[in-house]
């Protein structure tokens, strides 16, 4: 019995060591740094809550917070709806459905930098496909990434193109819904819409919660698109017109690795951490009574 325990610990030790060295230790150190004036080279000087006071009166911090909230607020619900719609469509028992499943899923397994370049070109105000198509139907499209108002919607549009991953999760959940349930409801006279809300939606609610939380966490950490697509040629110019795409992670990156303001950047990172944990906890709490787990709680 004792030997079994020892061997068990031995097997899990890589993760335990990694947790201490690469997760728990750095987290504590980052909390400490957030109370210092650390830079890349200097010895961190303790400055108490100064970084947090500075954050409270930093217009760029509020700007990045608002940008991230708007991006998540637009992108997460539309992404969920589109993914669910796609999954319902892809669940149809028709021939050749495998081909379509692959087609919709493909954009979500690829390279964000390459996709960013593609969308930079698609969204080009003068020659891009999007505005060319709009012009063909008599609409003069916006400047997209070069416009303060349209830069975030442009990035949301791009994110909708990669909802395939979420759709696959919904699809797997839909395939787990017993057919008899829907048939029983149909015999009781429930129409397709009522069947969807009374049977299908409760049955796939765990997948809905999972996609909601992962979508939220992903949106709150959006970085690469903003970095690649809204940066000019000069380093430091990332953030779009009038900082319209300065998201929190981009702001942390710039503070930490362009200005080497490590103390302040650590405080920003902790603010993001609290935000993400808070949002996830809120989503869990709101969903707890509404999510249906087959055979009770997992």
């Amino acid at each position: 019995m004792k030997a079994e325990a020892r061997q068990g610990w031995l097997f899990v030790s890589p993760w335990v060591i990694g947790f201490v060295l690469l997760t728990a230790g750095p987290m504590l150190y980052s909390l400490y740094l957030s109370f210092t004036s650390a830079s890349l080279l200097s010895v961190p000087q303790w400055i108490g809550g100064e970084n947090y006071r500075r954050m409270a009166s930093d217009p760029l911090f509020y700007r990045s917070l608002a940008n991230t909230a708007v991006y998540a607020g637009m992108g997460v619900p539309t992404g969920l709806l589109l993914a669910l719609g796609l999954a319902l469509l892809l669940n149809a028992p028709v021939r050749g459905i495998g081909f379509f499943r692959a087609l919709f899923f493909l954009p979500s397994v690829t390279n964000t930098v390459a996709l960013s370049l593609l969308w930079l070109w698609l969204l080009n105000p003068e020659f891009g496909l999007l505005n060319t198509a709009l012009r063909a139907v008599g609409i003069e499209g916006p400047l997209w990434l070069q416009s303060e108002a349209w830069a975030k919607p442009a990035l949301v549009l791009m994110s909708l193109w990669t909802v395939g991953g979420q759709a696959v999760i919904f699809l797997a959940a839909l395939q787990g819904v017993p057919r008899e349930l829907g048939e029983a409801a149909a015999i009781d006279g429930a129409g397709a819409v009522r069947r969807f809300f009374a049977v299908t939606l409760p049955m796939i609610s765990p997948a809905l919660l999972f996609n909601l939380i992962m979508g939220l966490v992903g949106a709150l950490q959006v970085f690469t698109q903003a970095f690649v697509m809204t940066g000019g040629v000069q380093p430091g110019s990332e953030g779009g017109p009038n900082q319209a795409t300065l998201f929190i992670v981009l702001y942390i990156y710039k503070k930490a690795f362009q200005e080497f303001d490590m103390g302040y950047a650590s405080a920003l990172a902790w603010a993001l951490f609290v935000l993400i944990v808070g949002c996830s906890a809120l989503a869990f709490r709101l969903a707890r009574e509404r999510v249906h787990y087959e055979g009770g709680q997992p």
Binding site: W15, F19, L90, A102, N111, V113, L129, A172, T224, I252
Partner: protein, 285 residues
């Protein structure tokens, strides 16, 4: 009168509507890629021509030659492989060891430890990235591949979870037999358990490949010298260079992007099933 005519007409209509929606949405989802391919084979002037001609003639394959010669892309490819292969091996071995520990041994604190491991999956990396950077800088590892490779030696929570769930579905009989024959636990893990877990192993390898091959943030932080760049980082370097020149060579940028995407697409078509399994398992917890 065996089949009521109304319902069969309804079924035909429903199937037709489904196809219509699939084809319309499918076209909408594929148009960006078609445009990318088309742009990558046009000469520069044709890329800006109004109205746009979709079919380039002749096909300007030289854009692809320029895409791989503008920057040392061969070098980037080697760099990417030099990082990706060790990360795949290390992630698999370490995650599978830890997963086996969680799946097959009873020890005090195991379940709490596993819950902690799952919880770290949700942890945003930004909160550890600054201390880790300072640590790796202190070790003199900045501008080397070590910060990108070494962390994979300690297992990755998602793969630990995925492998553990799979190990739990393997009956323990053959392990018991090997144990009675005097084989060590490590030996059993390697030659009895892992071979039976091939589908899960494949999923881990594929996801690790995709994650490492396409990683941008890690290389961006740690690789300063252009000649050490990975393909993904190199693509961004190319963007900066091309966008900084007078007329932006979108045809060359699209060719380069397609080349970086290519391994992902090929792998996807070869291993679609493992992709779906990995994604659905992540959600099923």
């Amino acid at each position: 009168m065996s089949v009521p005519p109304r319902s069969s007409a309804g079924a035909v209509a429903r199937i037709s509507l489904t196809y219509l929606a699939l084809v319309a949405l499918g076209a909408l989802f594929s148009v960006p890629v078609a445009w990318m391919l088309s742009s990558s084979l046009h000469e520069l002037a044709a890329v800006f021509a109004q109205p746009y001609r979709w079919l380039p003639s002749p096909l300007h394959w030289e854009n692809y030659v320029r895409a791989v010669t503008l920057l040392p892309v061969g070098r980037f490819l080697v760099n990417t492989i030099v990082i990706t292969v060790p990360v795949m091996a290390a992630t698999l071995v370490s995650s599978a060891l830890v997963a086996y520990g969680f799946a097959r041994f009873r020890f005090p604190g195991r379940d709490a430890l596993f819950a902690l491991c799952l919880a770290t999956m949700m942890l945003p990396g930004q909160v550890t990235m600054i201390p880790l950077y300072l640590l790796f800088a202190r070790l003199g590892w900045v501008d080397t591949y070590l910060p990108l490779i070494v962390p994979s030696l300690f297992g990755s929570p998602f793969y630990i979870f995925l492998l553990r769930q799979f190990f739990l579905t393997i009956p323990g009989d053959s392990e018991e037999a090997a144990l009675i024959d005097g084989a060590s636990r490590l030996r059993i893990w390697w030659s009895v358990v892992l071979p039976q877990a091939r589908p899960a192993v494949a999923t881990v390898l594929i996801f690790t490949f995709i994650g490492t091959w396409n990683d941008f943030f890690g290389p961006l932080l740690y690789l300063n010298s252009p000649e050490k760049a990975t393909l993904t980082l190199g693509l961004n370097l190319m963007k900066t260079q091309v966008l900084g020149s007078g007329v932006v060579e979108w045809n060359v940028l699209m060719a380069a992007s397609l080349l970086v995407l290519l391994p992902n697409v090929v792998l996807f078509f070869v291993a679609q099933r493992q992709f779906i399994r990995g994604i659905s398992m992540g959600a099923g917890k």
